[in-house]
Amino acid sequence: MTLTRTRPDAPAARPVDPRRLLRLARLDMTLLWRNRTALFGVVGLPAFFAVMLLVSDGNGHQSAGVPAVLYTGTGDLAFFLLPAVFMNLVSVFTARREELTLKRLRSGPLSDAEALGGSVLGATALYLAQSAVIVVIIATALDGGLPADPVLMLLGMLLGAVVFALLAMALSGVTPTVEMAQLTVIPVLLVSMLGSGFMFPLEEAPVGVRAVAQVMPLTPAVEIARTAYLGRDFTVDGDHGALGLVETWTACVPALLTLAAWIVVGAWLARRYFRWEPRRG
């Protein structure tokens, strides 16, 4: 019998090396650029929403007491989690599992966290870049100013990216092929479009619907993005009143906790359903 010994000369195994993570994120950008179908999905939908903001500007519509374009624009900052992070990563993880590149990446010295984290980092960077475009549109074309609380806004966006990356891992595990990924994302996409308040205010919805909508994963991300950007209470039950710095954070505590809860749920689902290799047989 051989006993396992720790050797002093063993390389300190860091679970995540930032240099490798960046290299893998860059790989994802290269591959996305070369895969026009995927590129259209990841960039096309956000581009459509950005253009919609510009053409709808000045139509005089109001949502929840602010111009509808500002309402939707600040909602986009959270909604882009869907195309850039969630749908993108479901496709990436499913395709790589089936073409065995995930297994191949794992056959080298990469840790599991690195093999997946590079893609998550790339997708998050893409999401932040798309959101930056929206911020520019809001600040210039829509005359909506800059984010009132950029730190809180960014925190909400990053927590949202973690939630949807974990959900993408889980969903990829039950998605048999990359073509099927177009379909399996639809339920989450629909719930997020209709039930998150990113475009259609939830104020008018029946209490029961509102209660359910409030615990959906995109809703807290929308609440935080809009509230932090506009500096007014745009949580689902909020009164849209102006908030000070501390009040903004206090108003968003329930939403932050909901995101934290989704991280726990997402991590559990990812552990349960994510697969590194295709099913045998």
Binding site: A13, E99, L100, K103, S107
Partner: protein
């Protein structure tokens, strides 16, 4: 623990649900040697390989690579190991050069790209995307990734499957070069010639167990030299001689029934010569002609077929 044991597998069992793919195998690979696991499809080679590579924990038994548990201490082991999976896993939209560069960026101590591509004879395909490579070229690119970091140990799972004979020879040449440079190699194959050409030692697996193991000479020994001829029409099977007590096995041949003697004993011993003399004397005495007379030493194929090819026949003989 002896220092020179690079891979140690002891009493390994591997189950998938109710199916036991590997049923208690043991072998070891010593420093600087090439060890081949031979077997038909489904013999348990790849399951064994993936366990040694650290992709899955053993259901029972122990596996050590460089003295460590390859599953629990995956990262520590992996930095000394190069792996070529049975199925590639190349990014179809990256070129050959980009693929190697990606690996060079994520493994420590990588070698220059051109040197690696030279070694696997892909230098002239550097700008071709992986999806456009032939099957054999994909395998060679996969080999390039496995050796980019100058690993001490190389695991090659069916490295030449799907290659034409020339590409196979090229790959053998590459692998021989790696062994000559001191790399320890564990490979699986179902090509007997590959094992004969490359292996210092080998094990033949069948239905999840190791049936025969040793150096090529050791494996061949005991499987004996063969003498065969067409049975003359004038002679009855019962009259055939038994040189050194070897029983003739009669099988149907193109020009009539064929008698085959399998002579056990050392492969280079005097057995064949003596047995032949006995047979020829017997034929001369009776003025018989032994058409198609043939004497040859045992080949891996004989051993392989006996172990894996006709298990039912094997068991019926016992």
């Amino acid at each position: 623990m002896a220092k020179d044991k690079i891979v140690e597998v002891a009493g390994l069992h591997q189950r998938y649900g109710d199916f036991e793919a590997v049923r208690g195998i043991s072998f070891e690979v010593r420093e600087g040697e090439l060890f081949a696991l031979l077997g038909t499809n489904g013999a348990g080679k790849t399951t064994t390989m993936e366990t040694v590579e650290g992709f899955r924990p053993a259901s029972a038994g122990t596996v050590r690579v460089l003295g460590r548990d390859p599953h629990r201490e995956r990262r520590a082991v992996r930095s000394h190991v190069g792996i070529m999976l049975q199925e590639g896993g190349l990014f179809p939209d990256l070129t050959v050069a980009e693929t190697v560069d990606l690996w060079r960026d994520i493994v420590p101590g990588a070698r220059p790209r051109d040197e690696v591509l030279e070694q696997v004879v892909l230098a002239d395909r550097a700008d071709v995307r992986a999806r456009q490579l032939s099957g054999g070229q994909k395998r060679r690119l996969d080999l390039a990734l496995a050796i980019v970091a100058r690993p001490r140990v190389l695991f090659l799972d069916e490295p030449t499957t799907g290659m034409d004979p020339e590409a196979r020879r090229t790959t053998w040449h590459t692998v021989r070069g790696l062994v000559a440079d001191g790399t320890t190699v564990l490979l699986t194959t179902h090509y007997l010639e590959e094992a004969e050409q490359l292996a210092d030692r080998l094990a033949i697996m069948h239905q999840g167990t190791v049936r025969v193991a040793g150096t090529v000479a050791e494996v061949l020994a005991g499987h004996g030299d063969r003498i065969s001829f067409r049975i003359p029409p004038q002679a009855a099977v019962a009259e055939l001689p038994r040189p050194h007590g070897a029983e003739p096995q009669v099988s149907a041949g193109g020009g009539g029934p064929v008698a085959t003697y399998t002579l056990t004993g050392p492969p280079t011993g005097p057995g064949v010569q003596r047995a032949l003399r006995e047979l020829l004397d017997w034929a001369d005495d009776r003025r018989l002609e032994l058409a198609g007379l043939e004497a040859r030493s045992a080949s891996l194929e004989d051993v392989f077929l006996r172990v894996a090819g006709h298990p039912a026949v094997e068991e019926a003989h016992r």
